[in-house]
């Protein structure tokens, strides 16, 4: 998907935000660019093409998933069957949302993403492998690219850890901070 600045309105049109996350949530994914006004698939949209229908990864372009903070954009990509997005850069809010849901925003340089997109389009069986443990993406020709991810985020994703429960282990520190803050800035607390 080589478009620049793909926004979260495109991934999950605003009218679907109010929907509960239940079976069928995948239908909203890229809804208005994937389907025409009659609900028929648009053949030019990449995820409708035979080769990419069952894609598990999107190789995107710069500033992927910019715009609105809607976390449903992550939910619908996941429910559509996608496991991760690889792009040169991401909208900051989307990247935070993605990690919380175990959906990995993988950052690779622009030229690497472009080369991956090109080699996938040339390959008969377009497949890549993402190894989160070893932080590598292997392209269709076997070429390997390393990516960076914060160790803590990787640990949480690999172990399916919930962040709130982990932070609550620090609750004494929050209490202590809160107490001092309350003394210094009492007006903050209403």
């Amino acid at each position: 998907m080589d478009e620049l600045n793909v926004n979260t309105d495109r991934i999950l049109p605003a009218r679907f935000i109010k929907k509960p996350r239940e079976p069928g949530y995948q239908d909203f994914c890229f809804h208005d660019v994937r389907l025409d006004e009659d609900g028929k698939e648009r053949p030019e949209f990449i995820l409708n093409q035979a080769k990419y229908r069952d894609a598990q990864f999107i190789i995107g372009n710069t500033n992927f998933a910019c715009g609105s903070s809607r976390e449903g954009a992550v939910y619908t990509l996941q429910d559509f069957g996608l496991k991760a997005v690889i792009a040169p850069s991401f909208g900051d809010i989307f990247a935070s949302n993605a990690v919380k849901n175990g959906f990995v925003p993988i950052r690779l340089p622009e030229d690497v993403c472009a080369a991956l997109r090109h080699s996938l389009s040339e390959a008969n069986d377009p497949s890549i492998t993402v190894d989160l443990e070893n932080q590598t993406v292997t392209g269709p020709g076997g070429e390997e690219h390393s990516f960076e991810i914060e160790p803590f985020q990787k640990h949480c994703i690999l172990n399916g850890l919930g962040e709130i429960a982990l932070t609550l282990q620090e609750i004494d520190k929050i209490d202590e901070f809160d107490e001092a803050f309350r003394e210094e800035f009492p007006w903050l607390y209403g």
């Binding site: 900051d92 809010i93 989307f94 709130i164 620090e170």
Partner: protein, 472 residues
């Protein structure tokens, strides 16, 4: 390391609860602002069995889904005809009640768009860290706060812990020197900035806006600038608080009490960025070069001066960018080389968290006074109190006489999920913040402009250089 710090670093450092081994800081969050779309967050803490740690630091707003037609609003919740939309307003009302959170809901004169109610009520203040369940939370940076948007998971995290983990973002200074020319507003300044920086140019950065043009703006004009920081990809945007900000906050309902105020204000004065503080990136613009701006494409970076023409993709050497331009020109149904002023519009919208404040309606009224609109035009004050003030000043009469509809407060046609939207193929001149495909309803075509430019388009029926109407 230099002891010279930016305002952003000062606010950040003051809020660090603890630091993780990987360098992430646990930041104390002073305020969480929440809207209807955050229902997943409340569901999450309920499912995981967490309490809301500090309900008095959380504020809920019914704004995205509320209808704006006066007849519908007179009936309260019953006026929301679509059951799915009504459910969204009901859910936030119930969540706020269950957890003891202050709600600005239907029937409350203070109700309105979260990013306008927050400053108006004194909820957002200098020196704070504010998390908001909406990407335009950057608006509150105009008061000298570090304010940013979060999704549902992080909203739930703040509800349960009053804190968030963050790696420190980079900083970018955007300096706007000189004075704004005649007919040029703060909206034109931020559109010009986004045009220069690009929609992804500030990803990973917190922007600090500085310079003569920014200092000369009043607090609400600064909100328009900070509001659209996210459209340049920034994590947040903020401005050092000066005496204008201190005066602005003073006496508001949730502001520090009079007996504390001087002490607090003295602390706010210490937040200013130090003279030799360093930034990771610096950008500068000269305000005297800025003209009234208008977007032509589907990203806020697709912006030109109103005196310019629709760009020609053939002139773009980069293949990805050329494809983006071609796609936008096709979606927007434009012909390269067409003067922007020849583009006819079907609808005008004045409102939103970007431009729904009192002086936005003053600007619009000044343009339409004694004139008539030639296309349907909506004026939607951002809050009940903005609406009341506009009515006290007689602005509603001027707008109504010109043929505008005068609505009840809400997000309205900025987001097209509450009943106010465009039909497929319709084109608007809109004071909102996003011109994405389908943003104002499926198939809608949006041109972003300032309030006075929107008013000018309403009068002529096409995109118009407001300076010509003002001179007439």
């Amino acid at each position: 390391m230099s002891d010279q710090k930016t305002i952003f670093e000062k606010i950040w450092n003051r809020h660090v609860v603890t630091t993780r081994k990987d360098g992430a800081d646990l930041l104390y969050i002073d305020r969480l602002l929440s809207q209807e779309n955050t229902f997943h967050a409340f569901a999450k803490i309920r499912a995981e069995g967490h309490a809301v740690r500090s309900p008095s630091q959380v504020f809920c707003f019914a704004d995205h889904y509320v209808p704006t037609e006066p007849e519908a609003r007179a009936k309260g919740l019953d006026g929301v005809k679509n059951p799915e939309i009504r459910a969204m307003v009901e859910i936030i009302t119930k969540d706020a009640e269950e957890f003891g959170i202050q709600l600005f809901g239907l029937g409350d004169i203070r109700q309105g768009i979260l990013h306008v109610v927050g400053p108006e009520q004194g909820i957002s203040q200098p020196g704070m860290i504010i998390a908001g369940a909406d990407s335009h939370t950057s608006t509150h940076g105009a008061l000298g706060a570090f304010a940013f948007g979060v999704g549902s998971s992080e909203s739930a995290h703040v509800l349960a812990t009053q804190a968030l983990w963050r790696q420190k973002p980079k900083t970018m200074r955007i300096d706007v020197s000189g004075a704004l020319p005649f007919g040029v507003s703060s909206k034109d300044v931020i559109l010009a900035i986004i045009g220069k920086v690009g929609a992804g140019g500030a990803v990973g950065h917190v922007i600090e806006y500085t310079g003569e043009a920014i200092r000369a703006m009043n607090v609400e004009q600064r909100m328009t600038v900070c509001n659209m920081s996210i459209e340049a990809g920034a994590r947040a945007g903020l401005i050092t608080p000066d005496e204008k900000v201190i005066e602005y906050v003073k006496g508001r309902p949730f502001a520090p009490k009079p007996e504390d105020f001087d002490k607090v204000a003295n602390w706010w004065r210490t937040l200013a960025s130090d003279d030799s503080a360093a930034y990771d990136q610096e950008v500068s613009l000269d305000a005297t070069d800025i003209a009234p701006m208008v977007t032509w494409g589907n990203s806020p970076e697709d912006v030109v001066a109103i005196t310019d023409v629709v760009p020609d993709p053939a002139q773009e050497p980069d293949a990805n960018r050329r494809a983006k331009l071609e796609r936008a020109i096709s979606y927007m149904d434009l012909i390269p080389g067409t003067p922007m002023t020849e583009i006819a519009v079907d609808q005008v919208f004045i409102g939103s968290c970007t431009n729904g404040r009192i002086e936005d309606f003053r600007d619009a009224a000044e343009v339409v006074k004694g004139r008539k609109v030639t296309v349907p035009a909506l004026a939607v004050p951002a809050t009940g109190l903005v609406k009341k003030q506009a009515e006290d000043e007689g602005l509603d009469k001027i707008l109504l006489e010109a043929g505008f509809e005068w609505r009840e407060p809400g997000c309205s046609m900025c987001v097209g999920i509450n009943g106010d939207d465009l039909r497929p193929g319709q084109r608007s001149a809109s004071t909102s913040n996003r011109n994405f495909e389908g943003r104002q309803g499926r198939g809608s075509r949006t041109h972003l402009v300032s309030p006075s430019m929107a008013a000018a388009a309403a009068v002529t029926g096409h995109l118009t250089d407001v300076r010509k109407l003002k001179e007439a």
